[in-house]
Symmetry: C2
DNA sequence: TTAAAATTGGCCAGATCAGGCTATTTCCCC
DNA sequence: GGGGAAATAGCCTGATCTGGCCAATTTTAA
C-alpha cells in the first residue's frame, strides 16, 4: 500500500487528488495540507511514501517543502506539480531533491503512472521538462568551451596541471620543460582568461568545463 | 507531414516500424537502413525530420550515427532506441545530441507520442532514464560530501572564497577578519584536506562537490 | 560547569608566484 | 619564402603564499 500525502493550497484540487488516489487499489491518502508550514510535525506520526507537492503555495512553499522533506524524511518520494513547464523553480526543485515533475494539466492516469514510476525508482517528467534538464545538463560538454579563451595546446596542458593542483615546479617536471617556460605559459593563460592567480584560473576552468 | 528514417539492423523490426509509421496520418517513412555506414549519402537527397536510431548495430552503430547526423544534419531530430534502460551508451548518445530515448519494448503509442514530442521540442524518455540523467546531473543524490573533510563553518566560508579565486587579502576584506586569521583557517583547511596549495584545495573542493 | 573546538589575531622565514622584460627555435599558413 | 603564432628559455622585483610558532576569546558539547 502506497501512502500518499498531498500539499496544495487549492482545497478543491486537494479533494480531487484525494478522490483520485482513493480510487486506486494500492494507494491511500493519509493527509492533505494547504502549505508546508507544519510539514515536519504533520508527517511525524506516519511518514508517507510519496508526497504530491504543489510548488506555488502561500506561506511555506513547495521548494521549502522539498528541502524540509529531504532533511527530515530522506526516503520519501516527491512529485512536484505546477502549471507551467517553464517554471524557473523547476531546477531548484530537482536540485533540492524532487523525484518527479508532473504538470497539473496532465491527465489523471499520468499522475497515477507517475506515482508508480517514482515508487519504482524512476523520475517521471514531461518531455518538455526533460528537454530543459538535458540542455542544462549537457550545456558544458556539448558546446565546445575548450576554445572559449583560445588557449594553445601547450597552454591547455599547463592549465590541466594547474587544475590538478600542481605547482610551477611540478608542472615543469611533468612536462619536461623549464620552470621559466611554465611561468611564461601561465602568464599567457592569465591574460587570455582574464584572471590573476592560479586559483582563479582553476575555478574558471572547472566551472566553464574547459579542461 | 513528418518525414521519418529508420536505422535498425533487424529487418523485421524495420518493417514493423515502417508499418507503424505508415498508419499515422501525418507521418511518412522515407527510408530504412540496417546501419549508419552510408548515412550521409542516404539522407542527402531528402533529409528527414526525425530519425529512429537503434543503438546496437553491426558496422557503424547508432552512436556514430548520432554524431554523423549532428555534424551533417544538425536540425534532424533523433530518437534513440535500445532494449535496456541502463545501457552505458545512454549518456554518450544524449551528449552526442540525441533528442529522445525510447525503449524498444515500449508500446507503439509511446513511440508515436515520442515522435510528436521531439517534433514539438521535447525530449521524451522513460522515467528510469530520466532518473539516471537527473542523478548524473545533480551528482549528489545520497552522499553528503560537505562533511567529507569535517571543515568547520568558517573554513567552508573561506574555502568558498578560494573557489571564487579570492586571494588571502580579498578574503579578509570579504569576511571582515584579519589576513592572519584567514591564513590560519587556510592552514587548517590544508591539513584537513591533505593539500598544500590553493589550487589543490580548489580542485579538490570542486571535484568532490564540497562547496 | 567544564572541556573541547572553533574563531580570532599575531609574527616570521623561506618558498612560490605574478608580471614585467628579452630572445631563440619551430611550425603552419599565406 | 616570409609573417606570425606557438613553444621554449632566461632574468628580476615585489607581492603573495606556505607553514612553522603562540595566544586570546567565543561557541559548542559533554
Amino acid at each position: 500500500m502506497i501512502k500518499i500525502v498531498i500539499y496544495d493550497d487549492h482545497k478543491a484540487r486537494r479533494e480531487a487528488l484525494r478522490l483520485l488516489v482513493s480510487f486506486q487499489q494500492d494507494m491511500r491518502c493519509i493527509g492533505d495540507y494547504e502549505d508546508c508550514s507544519d510539514l515536519v510535525s504533520n508527517l511525524k506520526s506516519d511518514p508517507p511514501d510519496v508526497v504530491l507537492m504543489d510548488i506555488h503555495m502561500p506561506g511555506v512553499d513547495g521548494i521549502e517543502g522539498v528541502k524540509l522533506l529531504r532533511k527530515n524524511y530522506p526516503d520519501t518520494l516527491i512529485i512536484m506539480q505546477t502549471i507551467f513547464e517553464d517554471d524557473d523553480n523547476l531546477f531548484n526543485c530537482l536540485l533540492a531533491g524532487a523525484n518527479g515533475y508532473i504538470l497539473k494539466k496532465a491527465p489523471n492516469e499520468k499522475l497515477i503512472e507517475g506515482i508508480y514510476d517514482v515508487v519504482n525508482g524512476g523520475a517521471p517528467m514531461t518531455p518538455a521538462i526533460a528537454k530543459r534538464v538535458l540542455e542544462h545538463f549537457s550545456k558544458k560538454p556539448s558546446t565546445d568551451n575548450r576554445h572559449l579563451y583560445d588557449l594553445s595546446r601547450r597552454e591547455m596542458d599547463i592549465l590541466g596541471c594547474l587544475v590538478k593542483g600542481y605547482s610551477h615546479k611540478m608542472i615543469a617536471a611533468e612536462l619536461f620543460i623549464s620552470p621559466f617556460t611554465v611561468n611564461n605559459h601561465i602568464k599567457k593563460i592569465y591574460q587570455k582568461m582574464q584572471v590573476h592567480s592560479v586559483s582563479e584560473a582553476v575555478a574558471t576552468a572547472i566551472n566553464k568545463k574547459i579542461v
